[in-house]
Structures are given as structure tokens and as C-alpha cells.
Symmetry: C2
Subunit: 196 residues, 2 copies
Amino acid sequence: MARTQGSHSGITGPRVREVALKLFAQHGYAAVSMRQIAREVGVQVGAIYNYTPDKQALLFSLLEGHMEELLAAWEAEPRPEAPQDRLEVFVRFHIRFNLARPQAIFISYMELRNLEPAHFAVIETLRKRYEAALEEILRDGQATGAFSVPDTRLASYALIAMLTGVNTWYREGGRLSIAEVADIYWDMVRKAVAAG
Amino acid sequence: MARTQGSHSGITGPRVREVALKLFAQHGYAAVSMRQIAREVGVQVGAIYNYTPDKQALLFSLLEGHMEELLAAWEAEPRPEAPQDRLEVFVRFHIRFNLARPQAIFISYMELRNLEPAHFAVIETLRKRYEAALEEILRDGQATGAFSVPDTRLASYALIAMLTGVNTWYREGGRLSIAEVADIYWDMVRKAVAAG
């Protein structure tokens, strides 16, 4: 029989993930050991394995959890009829969601190469589902004549890269609020895909 | 006196950088040892130190060399009078330059956090110089009335993020040539910053 989980597993499980996320973001997956994670959580290294089979499973679980949360949050957003309105919802959602999770976004980009192939494939599928949600908006707007986009696939990549870039420079307490940043990006996105 | 460089230093120096770039891109800076670099170059580990004081100096030299090359190449580009034309030159240049150097671009984003603070500051300064080149074009276009950009600083970040994103999905031999990709991105960029 495997080790039974301690009575604190309900608390320690999330704490292990939280610490792992922080350490992976700070030092990189390759540089962080399970021993280091255990020390920071405040448990014996053996106890960590009650919560995760290994470091790879931990990384995968963090990235998968992040993507599932992203997709669920997007599904829960309002879905106005007009493609232009839906695109605005997407732009503001993406910026807000990502700025609230800087470490998860950071490791989602930085640590993809450290996923084993089967894990990578799962994350890729989830990522493509999110990109497809944006592409659908662009195709709908193309169909109604609201948008003129030479290539909806590339436009979805281009817009997501642009919006995700906010995380690399935005600092809380800087000269712009998140809402102001979203206004500025929405202005550029709206025009980038506009017809005429 | 320091070790004298061997007669092959003119060849081995660039080879050390080339191998380091490849290994850092493949495995990450933290996971690569000087021993591994030496083995792949085909020299004794001690001989590596004829070419670089340590692994940190090697990473810094790669990132600094990349940024210097980027800035010099941009300076050598044509500089048409009209801001819109100059912006088009920038878009096509950025995509072409980056797609020709996938590993350098990759480590420039991935390994920034592994630079010591003094090294990081140098790279940041060079990066800001490149962003400023784009922002200058945007400000010029704003002044002539060709562009309408609510925030030229943010627009420069947004456009560079969008254009750099091409490196994450472009595959040689895919459905689009580099020139076709540049056409599609230029269409979006042109509209994103357009007046009216």
C-alpha cells in the first residue's frame, strides 16, 4: 500500500503546488529539487511524495491546472452576439486573467520544453483550444464583414502574443491601471482586425 | 599570466559559443555544465576557460552579442522618410531577423532571469534601445498624423511582442513563406496604428 496521506493533506496539497510554482518561476524547473520544495513547505522530503509522484508530475499538474482554469474562466465570460463585442470581451479577459497570475503565465512559457512529450501534448491541446476560441471570434467577424483579417489563424497567434506580452512589462502601481492598459490594447486590436 | 590561447582559438572560440547557444536552447542554462560544452566542442574542460571565464560570462556574451547584432542590423536597414514606410521596414526586418536566429531569440527570452544583475542591466539597456527605435517611428507618425496611437510606449511593446511571437509557431516548409507571414503581420500592424 502506498503511504497514506496525512490529515493535513487538504492544506498541504495546495501548499506544495503554491511553493513549487513560486520556486519554478524564480529559479527554473531544472534548478529546483523536491528537497527544496519540501523544505519550503515545511515537511520531510519523503512526505512530498504523498502529494505528487515526482517533479515532472508537479510541473505538468501546474501547467494543466492553469490551462483548465483559463478555459473555464473564458467559458464563464459573457458572450455578446456581435463578434466585435466578443473580441473586446476576449482582450479584456486575457489581460486581466494573465496579470492576476504572473507566475503561472511565466512558467507556462518558460517550462514547456521541460515537459515530457505526453504531457506536452496535453498542454498543447488545451492551448490550441484557447487559440481556437479567439479564431472563432475572428472567423465570425470575417463572415459578418465586421473584420478583415487576411489569415484568422495567424491573427489569433498575433493577438494572443501581443496581449500576453503585457505580463512582461506591467508593474502594479505603475502609471497605468489594468483597465487603462486594456483600453489601449483594445484600441490597437480593434483597429488591427477592422474591415476597410 | 593567464593560459595562452591555443593556435585554434580563432576557430574554437566561435565553436564554443555555437555549442553553448545550442545546449542552452535545448536544455536550459541551469541544466548545462561547462564539462558538457567542452565535450561537445571536443576539447578538455580546462581548455574551455581559454575562451570564457565561466558559464555566466558565456551566457552574457551570447545575449549581448545577439542584441548588438540586432541593433547593428537595424541601423543598416533603409530609412525611408515616411513613418509608415519606416514601420513597414521595421516589421519585415524584425520577423526576418528573428526567424533566422531561433535559438538566440529563444535564449534571449528564456535565460534573462539567469543573468547576474549587472549583466541583466546591460541587456535591458540594449533592449530598450531597440524598443526606442520603434517608438521613435510611432511618435514620428503620430506627429505627421499618419498614426493614431493612444500610447506610443505601449504600442512599441505590443508590436514587438506580436512580431516576436512568430518565432513560437513558424516552421520552415510550412504553408507560408517568411515573406507571406510578413505581409500578413504588416497588414495587422499597419491597421493597428493607423489614424482614423
